[in-house]
Symmetry: C3
Subunit: 469 residues, 3 copies
C-alpha cells in the first residue's frame, strides 16, 4: 500500500475521529457518481479528434494558469513553461522546472489536484514529482499518455463524465458540439455556453470589430443597437439549438441598470467610435447584463455571472502571453445595489435561473446567501477560482448554509482548463461536502440519514436542477 497522502482514503476529511467516521460513510454515497460539469473551458474539438495528448507539459502545465502562476511567482519565466504558444527550451525543460519546484505547491489546491491526477488518473506515484525523477517521470507519463485508454474520449468514460459544458464565443459555429451530438458512440453531453463578453465591453480591444461582425452575421439586416440585440437573440437561439443550457458573463461590476433604447444606442455609437469613457462603457455593459436576463425570460437560458475581476493586470505578460495567464486579480463589489434592477424585474420568476459566482468570499454571507435565500430566480454559485481551494470551499459552506440551506446551491463547478484535473476537483468537492455534513451530524444539527440525502442531492441533483440539465 502506497503511503503517499494522495492515496489515503480519509484525505480531506476532518481530523476528529468521530466526525471522520461519519464523513467516510457519507462520502460513500457519492464517491462513484457520474460527473456533471456545467461550466468549464475545455475545447470540444478534443473529443472530436480524440488524439493522444502530445506530451506531459502540453497536457498539464502550459494551459493551466493555476499551475503556471505559482512557478511564475518564484521567478520562473512563463515562456519556459510554454505558456501562450511560446516554446521556451522545450517541453522537457518546462517539465523539469515544474518538478524541481514542486515544493512550491505544498498546501495548495493545485498541488493536491496534481497529486490526485498522478495517483488516480495516471497510476503514477506522486512522490516521483521531484527534481531527481523529472526525466523518468516525463518518460513514464508520456508512455501512459500514448496508451489508447488515455485519449480524451476514453478518459471521459473513465471519469464517468455525464455532462460537460464548454464556454464559447457567440459567433462560434459550434460544429464540434454538433459532431459530438450526432455521434451515438459518444455518450457524454458536451454543451456549449454562450459567453458574449467580447461584444459587451467597449473598453477592450477588438470591441468594434466584434460588434460589426456580430450584427452583420446575425442581425437579420437590422443595424445599430436594434441589430445588436437581435443578433444576440439569434445567436442564443443557435446555441440552444446546439444544446446550450446557459449563458456566462464575466462582468466587470454588478451594475444592471437598464437604459432606454436611445441611451443604449448613443453609448453604443460612442463605443464604436472609441470615445466612450470607462463609466459609459460600464453603463452599457450593465444595461446588457439586464438585457441578457430579459432574454432569458423568453428563451429560458440559465444565466451565470462572475463579476469583480481585474483582468490581465500585468500588461507585459498580457502582451507576451495573452489573457488567462494567471494575473487576473479579484476585487470587492457591491452586489445588491448593483443587481437590484435585474432582481426587481426578473428575480421573482422561478423559471429564470440566475447563478451568482464571486471571487470575493465576503459576499457569501453578506449578500449572495441573503439574495438567493429570497429570490426564486437567484442561486448561490459554488466557490470558484482562487476560492475553489479546499479551506475556502469549507468556508463557503459555513458562510451560506446557515442562512440559506442547501437548496439554493448551484452545484459544484470545476471551471477548469485542465481536463485531467476534473475527477480530482469533483472528488475534492465531494469530500468537503462529506466533511461539512459530518460536522453538522456530529454537532447534532442533522441526522446522518438526512445528511446522506443532502449529499446526494448536492452532488447529483443540484447542478442538473439549477442548470436545467
Amino acid at each position: 500500500m502506497n503511503t503517499h497522502p494522495a492515496y489515503n482514503p480519509d484525505r480531506l476529511f476532518p481530523a476528529d475521529p468521530g466526525t471522520r467516521d461519519i464523513a467516510r460513510r457519507l462520502y460513500l454515497y457519492v464517491e462513484d457518481m457520474p460527473i456533471v460539469s456545467p461550466h468549464g473551458h475545455l475545447d470540444p474539438q478534443m473529443f472530436v479528434d480524440n488524439t493522444a495528448f502530445p506530451n506531459p507539459t502540453k497536457l498539464l502545465i502550459s494551459p493551466d494558469h493555476y499551475l503556471t502562476r505559482v512557478l511564475h511567482s518564484a521567478g520562473i519565466e512563463m515562456e519556459e513553461l510554454q505558456v501562450g504558444g511560446h516554446e521556451g527550451k522545450g517541453p522537457r525543460h518546462a517539465w523539469r522546472l515544474f518538478c524541481e519546484n514542486w515544493d512550491l505547491y505544498a498546501g495548495t489546491a493545485t498541488g493536491y489536484w496534481v497529486e490526485q491526477e498522478f495517483a488516480h488518473v495516471f497510476g503514477i506515484d506522486p512522490s516521483r514529482i521531484c527534481s531527481e525523477q523529472a526525466d523518468s517521470l516525463y518518460d513514464d507519463l508520456s508512455e501512459v499518455l500514448a496508451q489508447p485508454d488515455f485519449r480524451p474520449r476514453e478518459l471521459a468514460d473513465t471519469f464517468k463524465l455525464d455532462v460537460l459544458a464548454t464556454t464559447d464565443d457567440p459567433l462560434d459555429d459550434l460544429e464540434a458540439h454538433a459532431t459530438l451530438r450526432a455521434d451515438a458512440s459518444f455518450t457524454p453531453r458536451v454543451l456549449p455556453t454562450f459567453r458574449p463578453d467580447a461584444y459587451t465591453k467597449m473598453y477592450n480591444p477588438g470591441f468594434k470589430g466584434n460588434v460589426e461582425k456580430l450584427i452583420d452575421t446575425a442581425g437579420d439586416g437590422k443595424t445599430g443597437y436594434e441589430g445588436y440585440l437581435q443578433a444576440m437573440r439569434n445567436r442564443r437561439q443557435y446555441f440552444i439549438d446546439h444544446g446550450a443550457v446557459s449563458t456566462d458573463h464575466g462582468i466587470h461590476n454588478c451594475q444592471t441598470q437598464p437604459l432606454s433604447a436611445a441611451e443604449a444606442q448613443e453609448l453604443l455609437d460612442k463605443g464604436m467610435r472609441g470615445e466612450a469613457t470607462f463609466e459609459e462603457a460600464l453603463a452599457f455593459e450593465g444595461n446588457m447584463t439586464y438585457r441578457f436576463a430579459e432574454m432569458s425570460q423568453d428563451d429560458g437560458l440559465v444565466m451565470t455571472i462572475h463579476p469583480g475581476v481585474y483582468r490581465n493586470s500585468s500588461p507585459s505578460a498580457l502582451k507576451k502571453f495573452g489573457p488567462d495567464t494567471g494575473h487576473d486579480v479579484p476585487f470587492a463589489l457591491d452586489y445588491i445595489n448593483g443587481l437590484q434592477p435585474l432582481l426587481a424585474d426578473f428575480g421573482e420568476n422561478p423559471d429564470f435561473h440566475f447563478v451568482m459566482f464571486t471571487m470575493d468570499e465576503t459576499a457569501f454571507s453578506r449578500e449572495i446567501a441573503p439574495i438567493a435565500g429570497y429570490y426564486p430566480a437567484a442561486y448561490v454559485g459554488a466557490p470558484w477560482w482562487f476560492i475553489d481551494e479546499i479551506d475556502a470551499m469549507k468556508r463557503f459552506r459555513a458562510a451560506t448554509t446557515g442562512t440559506t440551506g442547501f437548496s439554493r446551491y448551484s452545484g459544484f463547478i470545476d471551471d477548469t482548463r485542465a481536463y485531467c484535473s476534473i475527477p480530482a476537483r469533483h472528488d475534492t468537492s465531494r469530500r468537503v461536502e462529506a466533511g461539512y455534513l459530518a460536522r453538522l451530524v456530529a454537532e447534532h444539527r442533522l441526522t446522518e440519514d438526512g445528511a446522506a440525502d443532502i449529499i446526494v442531492d448536492l452532488i447529483d441533483n443540484s447542478p442538473r436542477r439549477v442548470f436545467k440539465l
Copy 2:
C-alpha cells in the same frame, strides 16, 4: 428517549470529545438563566390581551420572514403563506406547504430554532414536520396552543423572561407598556425602544406626514428643525418615562457628520418639499445620527445602530406584502470614516453606550472590534439577522475576542418577531459561547474556572450592563 437531534443534550457543542466535555460543564452554568432580551420586535399588546394564539400558521409562519423567505425562494407564493395579511388558501394550506418543504430548512438556524420550539416549547416531536403528518401536526399543535399554559404571559414564565424590549414608533402612546408596568401580576419588564427611522429618512414615503405629525404633537409649539429636534427630545423623555433604556437606528450608512442648524433646516425643507437628492437625504440622516448621540449625552439612552441594509429590494413584494418580508439585503460599509465625527465628540464618554450592530461580518475584526476596543462608549453588537445563524455566531466570537476580549460585547440579541423562538435563540447563544470558551480552555488559553466566570458574565451581566438594565 427520543433520538431526534433536537433532544440531544450535546447539540451545537464541538465534536472533539475533550472540548465537548468542557462545553457541557460550562453550559450548565447558564442553561437555566433567565432571558434578557434588550432588542426585539414583539407586540406588547400580546401580553395585555393574553389571548391564545389563533393557529399554528399565524403563530409560526406568517409573521416570520426568516422562515417565509426560504419557502419563497423555492417558488412558493407568499400570499399562500399568509404573509402581509393575505389569506391565500387558508392557514392549513400554508401549514401544509411549510411541512411539505421542511427539507429546505436543513442546516439553517431557522430550521434548528423551529425544531427546538417543537421539542422544548410545544412538546411535539419535530420529526413530525413532514408532508405525511402535516394535518395531524396542525391539529395537535392547535390543541397545544389552546391550552392555558401556552398563552403569552404563561409562556413568558415558562421562558423565564426577565426583560423584553420592543421596538416602537416615537409617537406610539406606549399604552400597552404602561398597562404592563402597572400590572403587579406580570413580572417581566417589557420596555419600549425609541426607533425614529420613519422620521429621519427623507427618501421613504410618508416622511413629510410623519415629520409634520411629530412636530405638531411634540414640538412644544416650535417649528421647523428646531421643533423637530425638540419633539425628538420630548418623545425620548416620554419613552424614558415608560421604561425605555435605548434607541434603535436602522441607518442607511455610517455617516455621522453634524450639520449646522441652518444647513439642517435647509435640507429638512427640501425633504419636506420632496426635492432632496438621495445624497442630501443621507446627509440629513447622518446629521440626525449625530444628534441622537448628542441627545443620549443628556438623557442617558443607550444608542444602537444597524447600518448597511438595502431595504425592500423587491418592489413587487413590497407593494403586495409590505416591508420586513424577507427581501432586505445587507451591503458593505465604511464604519470608521463614517462614525468618526460621532466617536470624536462622544466616544470618550463612558456613560454613553453606543452599540454597533452589523450584517457585514467582515467589519467585526476590521472596524468594530478595534473601535469598541478603544472607545469607552462603543460596544460590539452581537451578530444578528442573517449572521445570527450558528456558524456565524462562532465566527463572530473568533473575530472579535482576540482583539477586544469579552467585555465590549453587547450581550445576545434575538431581534425576533417569533415569540416562541426566543428560548431556542438564547439557548443557541449559550451553547455557542460554551463551545467557544471550551475551545479556549482546551487550547490552554483560559482556565476552566475563568471560562465559567466569563460565560455567566456574557449571558447575564453583559446585556444588563450595556443596556443599563
Copy 3:
C-alpha cells in the same frame, strides 16, 4: 508543576488529540530557533545604553497601545496609565489599575502575551496578576528588572535575538545603529528601516517643515520636487550604509498612479502652501509610493506597505497623548485597482521585494494571495496589528495557503513596541504554524516530513529570504 495555562506545553495547539500530537512534534523543530524580527518599533538606543528598565509600568504598560486601549475602553483614563508622558498618579497606581482590570484581557492575544512574559521571561506566576497581589507583584517584578540579566542586551541573548529591525525617520542620524554595528560584543543585527511617511502626507501637520528640512539636508542643493526625490535617494543610501534592508510605508490607501515631474511639482507646491485638497494629497502620496518602488529597483531595498488605517481617530486623545495611543482604526481598501500601476511596472522583477501587509483580513484571499501568487516581486505580509491575534493568524494561514502556498509569505512580523513580548509573539506564531500544518497532515494533505521542512522554512528562512537578510 505550575498548572497555569501559560506553562502548558500544548498551549495554542489544536484540541483534537491526534492533530495535537503532530503539532507537538512539528513545533519541536522550531521551538528554540533564533528570532528574526524584520519590522518593529523599539528604540535602538536601548541597546546602546543598556540600562535597567525603570519600572514595570514604564516597561510593560505605558508604551504599549495594545494594552492601554483595553483599559481605556473600560473607562480608565490614559493619563493614569502614564501614556504620552503623563505621570498620572505614578507608576504604582497605574500598575494597580492594570492588575485590578486583568480580567479584561481574557481571551485576547495581548493577555496571552503578557502571561507568557511573566511565566517565561520574568519567571513569575501570571496568576499573581490580580487586585490582591498588585503591590507585591510590582515589587517582585521591579526586583527582577533590576537584575543584570534583565537589561536589554542580556535579554537579547536570552531571547536568541538574531535580527531586529527598527523603524526610523529618514533624517535620523542612525548613530545608535552605527554604535551597535561597531560593537563586536553585541551580536544581534539591529537594522534601521526607512519610513518616510512624515514627508509624503501633505494632510498631516508638520509636512512643510519636514520637507524643507529634508531638501535642505539631503537634496544635494537641488530644489523642489527634484531636490525632494534626490534627498529621498540619498537618505535611502545612508540607511543602506547603516545596514537597512527595507523601507516601510503606512500609506493611506493603495493608490500608486505615477505623476509626471510637472504634475508632482505642482502638487508639492500646493502642499507646501497648505492648499492641497485631500484628494490631491493622496495623489501625491500615491505617486511617491510608486517612486519608492522605482527607487527600490536601483538600490534593492525591500518595500513594505500597510495601507488602510484611519490614524488618530480620537482628536482629544491625539491632542493629549499623541499618536500611536490606540485609536487608529482600519478600513477596507481596493488593493488591485490601486496597486496595478506599481505592479505593472515593477511586479515582474524578482529582485524587487514588495511586501503587502493589511489590517483587513478579507483582502488575503481576495487580493493579496492572488497578487503574490503571480507577481515575483509581491509577498503576502504576515497578519499584523489587530489581526496578529491567535485566531486571526489561523484564519490568515487558511486564507492564503490554499491559493498561494507557503513560499510567498513574508515571515512572521512582531511589529512591537513591547520588547519583552517579542519571544511570546514569535512563539505564538510558531505554535500557530505547527497547529495549521498539523491539520494539513491530519487531513492527509501533507506528509509529516514535508510539514517539518515547511515549518523550518517559514520560521527561519522566510524572513531572511524576503527581507534579504
